[in-house]
């Protein structure tokens, strides 16, 4: 049995008070909190093993190198990456996607080509492709979102053409919670010979990811959304694609031989990791995936489904609330964006904060989706993770009712 009370004890921040109330952290789609095991892994590295990696003959450097590469192996296994050198460390999802936009797309996308994204993409999986199109003369095409908040795959074969070079698509929307089935996209892409990049920022923390089963060409993720520190993320790249790719950033660590005139590149994965890597955070990320594996991704997913179900049901008690996102729980993650009639999301956020409840308000880095598809200036968003409880969902609902009464009562008084 999944025991959330025990899980919570692993997260020191959860015992914090906010405005005199226990913290109810429901901003997990923005970033996750960290278990003691992750904090300890980081501290242990700096108190016992820290050194710059590679090429060092001294003990600390050997230990640091081994720990860094062991971390890569463990994280690679977590995503079923076939070989560790196909997992490149980056700062976050955004850098991972930019790496592909600069190192791969700039060499493979030409004027007249097409890049396909969906209407639910995070800015980090939209703006880099706008740039590639601007620079190369390629065209950006959109897979539409349907009124039921799932993606419209009905005319995939018209959207993807022989000119399509890349489809860049999220596996889970950070606004709608929508889980995007990657397979239809993969199939359509393979038919036209396009590559597929999967933005796993929201899927990696919350469900089992198997990059080989998915068969995608690129998979990007952020550590900080999956219990690891900020400052570390990764990019999986399919073997043949990776081997043909030019470097991204240039400098130390990523070269083989350098003369004053030119340089040749180090083996994979180092070719793509210029400069001193973030060893400590990579090790902490491996502690995070170890923690997640121990709990079990399927168990975590089930826990979040239950919370989401409960939250959606209870939100129906407040008639002024409109929620966005698929109603079918098997098609959505633990993210609920909502809108309350007559109360601006910003005001909801402030009232909830006074109750110790942290939610996010705004456009969630998906401005075109929020403004021109949901047609609201902003939404409020509660997002759950493995340490959240049904009691916290209830606290959210009570606080929302209070908010409604607070703004609504005044109405009543006037009337």
């Amino acid at each position: 049995m999944y025991d959330v009370a025990t899980v919570r004890k692993d997260f020191p921040i959860l015992s914090r008070q906010v405005h005199g109330k226990p913290l109810v952290y429901l901003d997990n789609a923005a970033t996750s909190q960290k278990p003691q095991a992750v904090i300890d892994a980081w501290v242990d590295y700096y108190t016992r093993h820290n050194a710059n990696v590679h090429r060092g003959v001294h003990t600390l450097s050997v230990e640091a190198t081994e720990a860094y590469e062991a971390a890569r192996e463990k994280i690679a296994r977590f995503f079923n990456v076939p070989a560790p050198e196909q997992l490149l460390f980056t700062r976050n999802t955004t850098e991972a996607i930019n790496l592909v936009a600069m190192a791969w797309a700039s060499a493979n996308v030409k004027a007249g080509d097409e890049i396909v994204v969906s209407e639910v993409e995070h800015h980090s999986n939209l703006v880099p492709w706008q740039r590639v199109c601007e620079v190369t003369g390629a065209t950006l095409k959109l897979i539409k979102v349907k009124p039921d908040y799932t993606l419209d795959f009905s005319d995939l074969d018209r959207t993807l053409t022989a000119r399509t070079k890349l489809v860049a698509i999220t596996q889970q929307s950070n606004v709608l919670g929508t889980i995007v089935p990657v397979k239809p996209v993969m199939d359509a892409a393979r038919r036209v010979g396009a590559l597929v990049l999967v933005d796993g920022a929201q899927s990696a923390p919350h469900s089992k990811v198997d990059v080989q089963a998915m068969d995608c060409d690129f998979f990007a993720f952020s550590g900080h959304k999956m219990l690891a520190p900020m400052g570390i993320g990764g990019l999986y790249v399919k073997r043949g694609v990776l081997e043909a790719m030019e470097p991204f950033l240039r400098g130390g660590e990523m070269v083989l031989e350098v003369t004053y005139e030119r340089a040749t590149w180090a083996d994979l994965p180092y070719k793509f990791e210029a400069g001193t890597p973030n060893v400590a955070d990579a090790i902490a990320l491996s502690a995070a995936v170890e923690y997640l594996s121990r709990l079990g991704m399927d168990e975590i997913r089930q826990h979040e489904v239950a919370l989401t179900k409960h939250a959606l049901e209870r939100m129906r008690e407040i008639e002024e609330i409109t929620t966005f996102g698929p109603t079918d729980l098997s098609l959505r993650g633990g993210v609920i964006s909502f809108y309350m009639a007559d109360v601006h999301p910003h005001d909801i956020g402030t009232v909830l904060d006074r109750e110790g409840i942290a939610i996010r308000t705004g456009h969630h880095c998906a401005m075109p989706l929020v403004r021109s598809r949901l047609n609201v200036p902003a939404t409020a968003r509660a997002s759950f993770y493995l340490y959240n409880t049904e009691a916290e969902v209830d606290a959210l609902i009570e606080a929302l009712k209070k908010t409604q009464r607070y703004f609504g009562n005044a109405h009543a008084r006037r009337a």
Binding site: G20, H344, T350, R354, H363, A378
Partner: protein, 153 residues
Amino acid sequence: MLMPDGLDDLYQEIILDHYRHPRNKGLLADADLQAEGYNPFCGDQVRLTMDLDESGHVHKVGFDGQGCSISQASASILTKLVKGRSVDEVQGLVATVRRIMQGADMTDEQKDELGELEALEGVKKFPIRVKCALLPWTTLQDAVSEYRKTHAQ
């Protein structure tokens, strides 16, 4: 009425009242001064229009917008306060409000003169919301600057 702790400072009755009953709502056509302000982070939006009389004082004002209670109430209060002021005086008013919202206490004189603005002082305890309160005022500044540019000599 239930009021979550400390929120009364932010959501004073005057603010909620302006939010729900905005004064001078609706834009003027062909206004002498106008500007639009937008805060993409919260989606707050304010449009301001003003007409001057022959002596160069604001005699008509209208706003429009969308956003949180603080930004919209602040805009509504603004429209009451600019009326009857010259362009120079409006500019002085913006500077005063900015100083107040960024931390200065209101003098008794200012409280007398600026009346309902006092209700916005509570926002200072919510630093993250200060930019909501200021949005209409920075928009007003833009309107003045634009007017000055086009009426340079």
